[in-house]
């Protein structure tokens, strides 16, 4: 039998669910304890923010909200590994990655609170907005990577997509073009096992989502998405590879969506409680905390202090959000075109007049 090509997909994990190293060697980043503590703090903050956002929605103060519960390691790794000049093309729940890059929690709330200004956020001005049409962000990242390549910039574009999103044509289109054009791109598949009510097993017959990259000749890697060290290590590797002209990667981070899909969803309809309970045993925060505690850089006092600090900062952000007045009616028109066409100006005037009349 003649073999035309062969492939292997590596699975990477450094910490077991109890925070113990699974092997003898750890990557350098695991020993950068300052950085790891930063990552842990970000993860903790995000979780506090998340539960507050859900509470706001439940009390009618926020629209539909997509929780990031359980994804904190994956998202923090993505954010912390990237450089400011890199471009992030998020889906809609990668808050930890965005917070690291400078997006304010109040901006996240503003967006889910029904106000476009949430997308005019304080993160890098070149980062993409939240992207609701599933997986389309993958091609925007690829296009950004193409721009970097044409201009000779040493920047990398990163797109984050879900297990469900990895079925969508755009994901495949992105990996196909990234391979063909050798783009500085990282496609991160955050596989949280569910796409609303559809389980991972229903999305594809492939054993791993990482192997989809083989279709485009990309570098492929699967990691434990609840292991912040493995996630970060994979990101470091994929980013360096891309930055140094080594091409694009698909990194699959295997984690679990611990909350409903969004606040508009009720996951009890379609998934067993047992599965969720079991998944809680692999969740990322406790694992990293155990690791840091064992190394002596974390303890209960620090934890208590961190929790109150997070609560306070979240409260401040929520206040700022709640204090933000809605945009006036003309905001519908003002950013439609750089140069407003006459007929839009006329409709704008009418809409404004209607508001005035209404008093």
């Amino acid at each position: 039998m003649t073999i035309a090509a062969s492939f292997q997909i590596e699975y990477r994990q450094y910490l077991d669910p109890d925070g113990n190293p699974t092997g003898k060697t750890l990557p350098a980043i695991a020993r950068d304890l300052e950085q790891m503590v930063q990552i842990y703090k970000l993860m903790s903050f995000t979780r506090v923010f998340d539960s507050k956002a859900i509470a706001l929605q439940r009390t009618g103060k926020l629209g539909t909200y997509a929780s990031s519960l359980g994804h904190e390691a994956a998202h923090a790794a993505i954010g912390s590994a990237m450089r400011p000049e890199d471009v992030l093309a998020p889906a809609y729940r990668e808050y930890a990655a965005q917070f690291w890059r400078g997006v304010k929690p109040r901006e996240v709330l503003l967006y889910w609170g029904g106000d476009e200004r949430g997308n005019d956020f304080s993160g890098p001005a070149h980062d993409f907005a939240w992207c609701v049409p599933i997986a389309t962000q993958c091609l925007h990242a690829a296009g950004s990577a193409l721009a970097f390549k044409i201009r000779g910039e040493k920047r990398v574009a990163v797109a984050v997509v879900g297990d469900g999103g990895s079925s969508k044509a755009d994901f495949y289109s992105a990996l196909n073009s990234a391979g063909a054009l050798e783009l500085p791109l990282v496609l991160v598949v955050v596989n949280n096992q569910w796409a609303i009510s559809v389980p991972r097993s229903r999305q594809t017959g492939a054993e791993t989502l990482a192997q989809k990259g083989i279709a485009g000749g990309l570098y492929c890697l699967q990691v434990d998405g609840n292991d912040a060290i493995a996630c970060r290590d994979a990101m470091d590797e994929a980013l360096t590879r891309a930055r140094d002209g080594g091409g694009a990667s698909v990194v699959e981070m295997v984690t679990y969506r611990l909350h409903d899909h969004t606040t508009a969803d009720d996951a009890r309809r379609y998934r067993p409680d047992d599965e969720v309970k079991e998944a809680w045993e692999r969740e990322p925060l406790g694992r990293l905390r155990a690791y840091l505690t064992r190394l002596g850089v974390w303890n209960e006092d620090k934890e208590t202090a961190l929790q109150s600090e997070c609560e306070a900062r979240v409260a401040e952000e929520v206040d700022a959000y709640l204090a933000t007045r809605s945009q006036p009616v003309e905001a519908m028109f003002d950013y439609l075109y750089a140069d407003m066409p006459l007929e839009i100006a006329q409709q704008r005037a009418l809409a404004v007049a209607r508001e005035v009349n209404r008093g």
């Binding site: 629209g63 539909t64 967006y111 889910w112 609701v132 999305q203 379609y270 905001a331 409709q347």
Partner: protein, 326 residues
Amino acid sequence: MAEISLIEGITQALAYEMRKDQSVVVLGEDIGVNGGVFRATVGLQQEFGPWRVLDTPLCETTIAGLTVGMAAQGMKPIAEAQFEGFIYPMLEHLICHAARMRHRTRGRLSSPLVVRAPWGGGIRAPEHHSEANEALFANVPGLRIVMPSSPARAYGLLLAAIRDPDPVIYFEPKRIYRQYKEEVPDDGEALPLDVCFVLRDGTDVTLVSWGATVKETLEAADALEAEGISAEVIDLATIRPLDFDTIHESVTRTGRCVIVQEAPKNVGVGAEIAARLAEQALYDLVAPVERVTGYDTHMPLFRLEMKYMPSVERIVEAAKRTLAVS
């Protein structure tokens, strides 16, 4: 007989036809165990099993292409686009194949399929969940486009859509999914796919609408009546082919026409109605035609969405403008 809402009318029609016709299958995202994000397919998978109520991978191109393929091989697939804002990846298959299959093969193959899509704004949903994009399909030959505005019409028009041997895009005005309930006998009676419905007779002005704004249009007619103005209200229901005769006949009597459309104005479906009036009813028109529509900008995120849409007030004003002329 229990009273049901518009969305229950949809579920009832799906179940009725699936019981009657083995070739009817439903496919889409989250329509199985979950019963659809709006609950339109609730209970169907339990009754008909996972292969007739099929959760697909998350890809609208896939859903559309599979649907065209199944339909060509003698099934009657009903695909769900989870929201109208996610229908775009379906367009190549719907326009190049569904709409052309019969024409292309001189009838050898055909596309007896339905695409259902929750449609329109007003439920405080996130971005891309509130579009009114029916005009996208309206210039495409070979399609039928339908939008109900009551539980009974939801039931009867969906049955007709499923039974029709050609592709039908069936938009569901999600804002009025649960607006009110009415008795809808589960008798399998379809409604015609080529007529408008006159919901209210009137003599002074003709109001035409479709989908969720039929609600505001009827309310406007009430408000006008309170001021002694008699408005006829027509629900377009089938957008393509357009039953212009019913509208024309009404305008012959009223001499005035206000078209109410949630979608942006420019080259919307309302433009076609106004255009036909300009072509065929010029001498019947006593006053300029009025279009009360969404603005030619994007449906804003939800804080401003109600300011985007045609309001009762705007409809009443427009109707009065037509009456200020004599």
